[in-house]
């Protein structure tokens, strides 16, 4: 039996809580939404800067400046990394410390990172702080001082650490090497400078500052927000991004990437990795050269299971499960004008050797058309899910949209992506797989080269 007094006390408490008047200055979660939830971005041009936003209901906002200044566009090795590390350092108006403390007080988070094509400087904060953080990002890109002492005391050390980190990571080394073989310059630049790059020759505060002038010029950046209305964002961007240089002195040349292919073998004592890569499709935002069958092929080859306690249906995971110690994943890296479909192996050298042989066999079976209809349907479903999830995912969507806008394409529109993935047919997939195997392959092996196979040994021609 529940005692009456207990019920009475709880009821009293509950009543008291209800009648308690909530301070009305802060809005509750339910009241925050200012616009309808929509997963598509609205874009506009504010004084030469492309601005896109998506007003997703919620109390927080994510704001990012996406600059077309990834490693693909750096004129000297390491410039992109240097510029990324200089984000939120001393500006003409306030010090790095003040920036950090102020955004801490507002509960904001600041972050900067880069991909092969874009440099992203972003802030996450409460919705009502949009003006403050728009001003901050505007200040960071236009008025950072790029002082020598900050470079030597803070930036340089971090770059050296990232070099060391890259040296220890065989999978990263392999994927960088595969990009290098596949695209030579531009996209082939490593994401982080390798440990033996003579950085001191190229990198200093001056060269980074010069690079920033070009990287953060108005035609080269876009401002993307998630969780802010387009009117408000446009208003603040118009006000706070006026210092941004209107044109870059020497705009980045965007010679379209050509695929070369080839083989590279790097000896490494700790760990083994192997990448087999094929020319892929450009990203959705590029328009015409987008080939959705590449995404489906990546899903069909797969490798990592999307469900627990089972290797999954994908061809590679089935192949790799026979060789304990090896893991295989297929990733499709898509860029503004091209892409790379990469099968990555890691694990013990012997297991990689066997799994890669098996993987090529399964790719050949796709090209011969011997895949079941069921597997094909599953692959389409997974590819569609991945594409849609990427769009819905705030982070990936921001970067994809920003990069799409700066590269002169369109923002990432989620509904269209889904449709184009659905339109892939089994014949199209087979033809794509066949074309891949007939063309030049990119093979990069890092690790114990005595055991790791040459491309020719696993039945590929380089």
């Amino acid at each position: 039996m529940i005692s009456r007094s207990a019920i009475g006390r709880h009821a009293q408490l509950a009543l008291r809580r209800q009648s308690c008047v909530q301070p009305s200055a802060r809005r509750g979660l339910a009241a925050v939404s200012t616009g309808e939830t929509s997963f598509s971005y609205e874009s506009a041009d504010v004084g030469g800067i492309k601005v896109a936003s998506r007003d997703v209901a919620g109390p927080t906002t994510k704001l990012a400046v996406v600059a077309k200044a990834g490693t693909r566009y750096e004129q000297l090795p390491g410039l992109t990394v240097g510029l990324e590390r200089f984000a939120f350092k001393n500006t003409q108006k306030r010090s790095a410390l003040r920036i950090t403390r102020e955004s801490e007080l507002l509960g904001g988070q600041l972050n900067a990172y880069h991909t092969r094509e874009s440099l992203v400087i972003e802030a996450k904060f409460l919705r009502e702080d949009l003006p403050y953080f728009t001003e901050l990002l505007g200040e960071v890109i236009a008025e950072t001082k790029y002082t020598d002492h900050e470079y030597h005391e803070q930036v340089e050390e971090l770059i050296h650490l990232s070099q060391k980190k890259l040296l220890a990571n065989v999978s990263e080394l392999a994927i960088n090497s595969a990009h290098g073989i596949a695209f030579h310059r531009g996209l082939g630049n490593p994401l982080y400078p390798t440990s033996s790059t003579p950085l001191a020759k190229y990198l200093n505060a001056g060269s980074i500052s010069e690079f920033a002038q070009d990287a953060y010029a108005k035609p080269n950046i876009s401002v993307v927000a998630n969780g802010a209305t387009q009117e408000e964002l446009s208003k603040w961007v118009g006000q706070f991004f006026s210092q941004t240089p209107a044109t870059s002195a020497n705009p980045f040349t965007s010679t379209s990437s050509t695929y070369y292919g080839g083989e590279e073998r790097i000896s490494h004592a700790s760990g083994n990795a192997m990448v087999i890569a094929f020319p892929g499709s450009s990203s959705f935002t590029s328009g015409a050269s987008y080939k959705p069958e590449m995404a489906v092929l990546a899903a069909l080859l797969g490798g990592k299971s999307s469900i627990k306690w089972s290797p999954g249906f994908s061809l590679l995971s089935k192949a790799a499960s026979a060789f304990p110690g090896a893991s295989a994943t297929t990733t499709h890296f898509s860029y503004s004008d091209t892409g790379l479909l990469a099968i990555q192996f890691s694990g013990s050298a012997k297991a990689i050797r066997d799994a890669s042989t098996e993987a090529i066999k399964s790719l050949k079976s796709i090209s011969e058309g011997s895949i079941s209809k069921e597997d094909f349907t599953k692959a389409v479903a997974i590819a569609k899910y991945r594409a849609l999830e990427e769009g819905q995912n705030i982070e990936a969507g921001l970067v994809a949209t920003g990069a799409g806008l700066v590269h002169g394409g369109k923002p990432f529109q989620i509904s269209e992506v889904g449709k184009s993935v659905e339109s892939v047919s089994a014949q199209k997939l087979q033809a794509a797989a066949k074309a891949l195997l007939e063309g030049k392959v990119t093979v990069s092996s890092v690790g114990d080269l005595y055991v790791l196979p040459f491309a020719e040994e696993i039945g590929l021609k380089v």
Binding site: A25, S95, L97, R98, R101, L105, D148, H149, H152
Partner: protein
Amino acid sequence: MSQPSLASAIRARPWLQKMVTPLANWYCNAAGYRKLGLRADDLIPEESETVLLALKRLPPQEAYDRVFRLRRAFQCSLAHQLLPKDQQTKPSEDIAYLSPIIKEIEAEAKERLDLESLSITKRK
């Protein structure tokens, strides 16, 4: 480690500056460091974290020149000699190359201290 200074107060009053400048010039020459080829900023004591950091931040050429001046001055001092007239520091060369950096570092430290003792009032 910048010394307390009346310079800015004097500079703000032209009449005072006019009176003090000849005296200051006389004092600088009489102090004798220019005759050993040094600059006023070479005399700032190095034994503090701030100055050590400021010295690290000097551009390479400045740092090299500073060491050269110091060694030349030591040599002169040991030999009980003054530099020949043409090698002595001219008033136009006696510029503050280190103290601006020291002031910058001190301002940084002060800002940090201020931010650390910040009291926060919640937004109404």
